[in-house]
């Protein structure tokens, strides 16, 4: 792999290789006192976050450090970005300062692609840690790792992605990856939160959650992204919660084995009831734990192999 920008176009063999590596890393580190591998010694990973994030940034930082890479965090608010430096110039600066890999979180869709184009020549690799409303590939990979752990092979499994599809990069990345891995995806959202062109995603769209529940192997809830909403997408939070929130009554309609996922940060009482989030059906903390191993695997596949000629 040269860069990891999207799950769209990521073939099943590469995705499975990353997931298998993540499983092995998890097993390797299990119960160890020293959670440190020398694999990426001397490689420098820089995270560049233009949006707030707790879990993704921390997860990448831990992943890099457990692999012995030097991890440097650059946040837009505390860097020259505040002085008006462009994304390109900031990225070239990081690359010139020795970054082997830049991990980018940016509010503009497509930012990671542009960055990859600019840094390719310098041999700096790019990981998309979320670009606007486009993709968030490592989130999809960690969701798939968690689902594989709970359900086994994902071939033929039916997974619903519920909520704010319009603003969600997690949804798009998940749909592409889950379909590549052979799962069937059902998208559930109010008509106002369905993006244009969704018919090309290759997933069935439904506006009602209840009839879907009994046939699902997993349900993935999305946060309602109020910060990206400039307009009335639904009458009230309460009304959204009544129609699309996963409460205990709805959870009871799911099959016994079905898994509940949420990429976080979750709004308890909005898209997910507190009792559901804390139930053993929910794999939300497992998702975070697996996130570290998946990101270690991504860094391993990007940085450990043979140097690719720029």
């Amino acid at each position: 792999m040269r860069h990891l920008l999207t799950t769209e176009g990521l073939d099943a063999a590469s995705a499975t290789a990353v997931l298998d590596t993540a499983d092995s890393l998890k097993q390797t580190l299990l119960g160890r006192e020293v959670r440190k591998l020398p694999t990426l010694r001397g490689r420098t990973v820089m995270t560049m976050f233009y949006e707030n994030s707790t879990r993704t940034r921390v997860s990448f930082e831990v992943a890099g450090k457990w692999m012995s890479a030097d991890v440097i965090n650059v946040s837009a608010s505390a860097s020259s970005v505040g002085k008006g430096e462009s994304l390109r110039d900031t990225a070239l600066t990081l690359s010139a300062a020795g970054a082997d890999c830049v991990i980018l979180r940016h509010p503009a869709s497509g930012a990671a692609h542009r960055l990859a184009g600019w840094l390719d020549e310098a041999g700096t690799q790019v990981v998309n840690a979320g670009d606007g409303m486009h993709e968030h590939p490592t989130q999809a990979l960690l969701d798939a790792a968690t689902l594989r752990e709970r359900l086994g092979d994902l071939g033929g499994r039916r997974i619903a992605v519920v909520g704010d599809l319009l603003h969600s990069r997690v949804a798009r990345s998940n749909v592409h990856l889950l379909r590549t891995l052979g799962a069937e995806v059902v998208l559930v959202a109010p008509p106002t939160l369905v993006p244009q062109g969704i018919e090309h995603w290759g997933a069935r769209v439904s506006h009602e959650l209840d009839p879907e529940l009994p046939g699902l192997d997993a349900v993935m809830l999305l946060r309602v992204q109020a910060e990206r909403m400039h307009g009335g997408f639904f009458p009230s939070a309460r009304e959204y919660s009544i129609a699309y929130g996963l409460n205990e009554r709805r959870m009871a309609k799911l099959p016994e084995h079905a898994v509940v996922l949420h990429p976080g940060p979750m709004l308890r009482g909005m898209e997910i009831a507190s009792a559901v989030a804390d139930s053993p059906r929910a794999a939300i903390t497992e998702q975070v734990r697996n996130g570290v191993h998946v990101r270690m695997a991504v860094l391993y596949h990007l940085l450990a192999g043979e140097e690719i000629a720029a």
């Binding site: 590596t21 192999g305 043979e306």
Partner: protein, 199 residues
């Protein structure tokens, strides 16, 4: 160029069998006897207890299992076995295409204060063993570490030697030693052949 320096039954493809299936079985049995003798694991000496055989994947893993079975058969003592993947500790990761990781599994008792015998199929540069020693260090503190290999082909690049050697084979760097084991390859044999890739 063909360099068949040793007279042997070299077939037209430039292959020469070093060990037959029967030879592999006898060699494993001999190493098992040597481990019993050298570690004194069948004596009542309490200090001799705690031998752990750790196979280096891929083919070290089944070899460790076979050695443990022979040791149990000859001495009546059951030794713990496990596997230790060293991929993440290699020093040539950036020189080769990415490789998949193999499973690691240590015995539940861990390796602290144990006598660990690393088991691998071929000893060559010694770099795999160095990586295994680094990997062991992150897993605990064994009382001592020994090394058992089915074939020692020479060309060491590090000051490392094996405690138990099935067969010493002089080789050229242009040759490769292919160990086949029934658990993985369907049959047992050790073959010397010309390598396509010149190191």
């Amino acid at each position: 160029m063909a360099s068949r320096r040793q007279a042997g039954a070299a077939d037209p493809a430039g292959q020469r069998e070093l060990l037959s299936a029967g030879d592999v079985a006898r060699t494993v049995a001999r190493i098992a006897h040597q481990i019993i003798e050298k570690t004194a694991l069948d004596t009542a000496d309490p200090g001799a207890a705690g031998v752990v055989l750790l196979g280096v994947p891929t083919r070290g893993a089944p070899l460790a299992g076979r050695l443990a079975a022979r040791i149990a058969e000859f001495s009546g003592v059951t030794v713990d076995t496990g596997t230790l993947d060293i991929t993440l500790y290699r020093d040539d990761l950036r020189k080769r295409p990415n490789r998949p990781l193999e499973p690691s599994s240590l015995p539940s008792g861990g390796i602290d204060d144990k006598l660990v015998v690393l088991v691998d199929d071929v000893l060559f540069s010694g770099r795999t063993v160095r990586a295994a020693l680094d990997a062991l260090r992150d897993q605990g503190r064994p009382r001592a570490v020994q090394l058992a290999v089915l074939v020692d082909r020479g060309h060491r690049e590090l000051p490392i030697r094996a405690d138990y050697v099935g067969k010493n084979v002089p080789t050229s760097r242009r040759e490769e030693v292919a160990v086949r084991l029934s658990e993985i390859d369907g049959a047992d044999s050790v073959v010397l052949r010309r390598s396509e890739e010149v190191r």
